[in-house]
Symmetry: C2
Subunit: 350 residues, 2 copies
């Protein structure tokens, strides 16, 4: 049987109340008794029963986080970085993380209801905004503190606190980079429709083209599944539709690596014949051959900021909604080069 307050009380000769208040550091207990009580408590190995405390004070000192189940494929690196940032910051402030892996759907919503409605967490971090996000609606309605990574999809109200990267500007910067090198036919591989950020990426692409006075051609845009195979397929489609494309931007690195593979299998050389850029800057981007030009996001820091801003809400330091944009970095590597000459010697034919 575990030691409880009652045992410490009996052993020390004081009441349960006094023991509780002594250990909690209240000023209405004599310094000497406090020392004695602490002494007794630690000699008995007293550990407070936390569910009991949580029931009483309605606080748990833990933060809820639902991560996508069974997709260790494309977002691994992303989530591990984010989780480390979240975990480190939470631990530093004395909070635990309550994590559940759920695929989008009814079970996922039930999980939020359990954590929030069941009083298991003091706040929630929500990671991938969707269009018409039911989770956000629920959390707002429950009035529990929460922070979101990723703003709402364009056209939807965004009355919650979030951190985001200006991915529209990031994609625009990639396009600028390419047009600056002389590219005029640039393909784009987008993420799936349902992701809230997809429209922003497309908009950035269009802005970039406009900046350079280039026309927007929907035939040069294709959607991929964020996996390497999706990039491979996407690149094939793009090059099939228009063999004169000289650059491809994929909306994540994995698809970019797939695109590189497709390009090589067409006997073209990445970086010389066709420039490629990705998004995310996963470690493999640096080790790839040729190394991959991409957009670096400070994922770890985002995780940390999510926590600090969430704790500001929980601990009542800030009530206003915060909309934080963190900077990205354009990382230029070997996969992006000037375009092959129009009409010059072509690989297979042309």
């Amino acid at each position: 049987m575990a030691i409880k307050l009652k045992d410490v009380a009996r052993q020390s000769g004081y009441s349960i109340t006094t023991v509780s208040r002594a250990l909690a550091g209240y000023s209405d207990v004599n310094e000497q008794t406090r020392r004695h009580i602490i002494e007794v408590a630690s000699s008995l190995g007293y550990q407070p029963n936390l569910p009991a405390r949580q029931l009483r004070i309605r606080r748990t000192n833990s933060l809820g986080l639902v991560i996508p189940a069974r997709d260790h494929s494309y977002s691994n690196e992303f989530f591990s970085q984010l989780l480390m940032g979240i975990g480190d910051a939470a631990a530093q402030s004395g909070y635990d993380l309550l994590i559940s892996a759920q695929a989008p759907g009814e079970a996922e919503m039930a999980c939020y209801r359990r954590m929030v409605g069941g009083n298991l967490v003091d706040g929630v971090i929500l990671v991938r905004t969707r269009r018409h996000d039911e989770r956000i609606a629920y959390l707002s309605q429950q009035q529990i503190p929460f922070m979101v990574f990723g703003r709402a999809a364009p056209g939807e109200p965004c009355n919650f606190s979030f951190i985001d990267i200006d991915s529209q500007a990031a994609i625009r910067a990639l396009v600028d980079h390419f047009t600056g090198l002389g590219h005029r036919r640039i393909g784009l591989i987008l993420p799936p429709e349902e992701m809230a950020f997809t429209p922003y990426r497309l908009a950035g692409y269009q802005e970039g083209l406009e900046n350079a006075g280039l026309p927007y051609d929907p035939a040069r845009v294709v959607t991929g599944d964020l996996l390497r195979s999706g990039g491979e397929q996407g690149a094939r489609i793009l090059l099939d539709r228009d063999p004169k494309i000289t650059a491809i931007i994929a909306c994540n690195d994995l698809m970019a690596l797939g695109a590189m593979r497709a390009i090589e299998s067409l006997n073209l050389q990445v970086g010389r014949d066709i420039a490629v850029a990705g998004y995310d800057d996963i470690p493999a981007a640096e080790y790839a051959y040729p190394s991959l030009t991409t957009i670096h996001q400070p994922i770890y820091e985002i995780g940390q900021r999510l926590v600090t801003l969430l704790l500001d809400q929980i601990e009542g330091r800030n009530s206003a909604h915060s909309a934080v944009f963190l900077p990205y970095t354009l990382v230029v590597r070997a996969s992006s080069g000037a375009p092959r000459q129009e009409g010059g010697a072509q690989p297979e034919s042309s």
Copy 2:
């Protein structure tokens, strides 16, 4: 104010007891009343207060996991894979994960005491065995169910349930692979001393040499910090001590990639002049140039098995200690080739 049992009781016209038992599915409540109560509960949006339940039944339906704080450097990929396996399996059985990021030390032990002694978790997963592991001692003494990834260091008692990879055999297989290619001077870059598995790796190396009738030379073994820079440094030292080394085995991929970089900076060619192998099979190993020969471990599956075995303990399906070894795979890629000819032309020529 949240809806509680009392509200459902009042609204449905039954007692708190009956409502509780109806929702819990006991057979001593009329099927019709049960339906009515469930109806009322869901129309009121009843969510049970879980800390209260936990306090009462002394179960939380969550598993504890302490991950290393602030080392998003070398074990990222490893931990994210493992976490996905653990998270998926736990969620599938209706368990949450309680996670805290702690650096080894007193705060880490306090974290275990809080989780276990504080009744926050029903079981614990412990990830990186150390020598004389205080955490394992504590968990055994507390008699809480726990599963460990990694057996005890050689010479220490191993009276707990664990899953491990036979890394001794894995390293031996790498050495066999190299000696089979004709290599006779093979360097080794070990993990730091304090890791429990380090001696097993060294033993595998020695066994491999013995298999091939080669002498063991301590000068060909060096310790690295598991980072890329450690591999770079290690390779330099090895090649400095004996320039005739034709193969290097690093005990993780990151160090192997560092070694490759060191080799290239000496104007030697990886895979032709010097063979390199790693351990872990992180994604970058495949994308590296040349791609890296390495040992693949089924990390995701390990995570899953850790959970299923832990739940067997928690739910009383199995009391005996289990010692599970899962298979590794030798993945041969471009970084390992036959040795350059003894006495033949040296790096810069031939």
